[in-house]
Amino acid sequence: MEVIETAFTPWASLIGGLLIGLGTVLLMAVRGNVLGATGILAGFMTPSSSSDWAWRAVMILGMISAPIAILLATGGFPTIEVPVNRWMMVIGGVIVGIGVTYGSGCTSGHGVCGIARLSPRSITATLTFMLTAGITVYILRHVIGG
């Protein structure tokens, strides 16, 4: 794998985080649901009822509208730089899908919604996936790649 250096963007990232927070609080205020991407996607793929499917579809539509809004406003899509090859996307994707299903959530569900509620399960999950992600990147870059 190659290494692509990225600039430290505290302001853009802070603003991005605040917007994620606003969207998360809005969904709770409107429907009383946590904004976990895993739960929304899994429920969209295997819906329990048509009304349950509908709000998830609208939510996903809102999400995918964002890069288009950014394109219209700035003339370009958000930056996506991929330092790894396609096989890593396939392997990583399948592993993420299995992990978030057994772990009942991902960065948004556990890392934002769960920690905001001070859920002990979500705090444990977040510390765990941050740690294993760190170890994985270390091994890929400094043990195998180094």
Partner: protein
């Protein structure tokens, strides 16, 4: 009205992910590369999200109920079990390998970036595999009980 607000919620989330750099695998992997080209930006994404969500949730829960539902649907399970820890550990490995997590890849699907499309398709495959495996083991348990 409900649908419009849900749409805006998704839009805000998607904008946040895109602007914050969460959907840029190089930035995600650099966040975890403390021993190399460390980019601490993503801590600001998490921090910013919690800065709004923690007091926002607190206020909503105190206030009573959502606008278009009879109650808040918040997970009530408080048991930390092997499934939670093992699943989260596995998720972290995949996140480190690809640099995308589910909430980051879904919004940027509309860029039609091939890596995003391949990651998300594989993610859905992984979710379906896990759901199938969980169903199989639940069936086996039920059979063992009736036998």
């Amino acid at each position: 009205m409900e649908k419009l607000l849900v749409y805006i919620s998704g839009l805000l989330f998607g904008l946040g992910v895109s602007i914050g750099g969460m959907a840029n695998p190089a930035k995600v992997q650099n966040f975890f590369d403390v021993a190399g080209v460390w980019d601490p930006s993503l801590a600001f994404v998490m921090g910013g999200a919690l800065l709004v969500t923690a007091p926002g949730y607190w206020f909503l829960f105190k206030r009573g109920k959502p606008m278009f539902a009879t109650k808040f649907s918040v997970p009530t399970n408080r048991t930390i079990d092997t499934k939670l820890v093992a699943g989260s550990a596995v998720f972290g490995i995949g996140w480190g390998i690809a640099g995308f997590c589910p909430g980051a890849s879904i919004p940027v699907l509309s860029t039609l970036n091939p890596d995003v499309v391949i990651f998300t398709a594989s993610l859905i495959g992984g979710i379906l595999i896990a759901k199938g495996l969980m169903k199989m083991s639940a069936n086996r348990r039920a059979e063992a009980q009736t036998a």
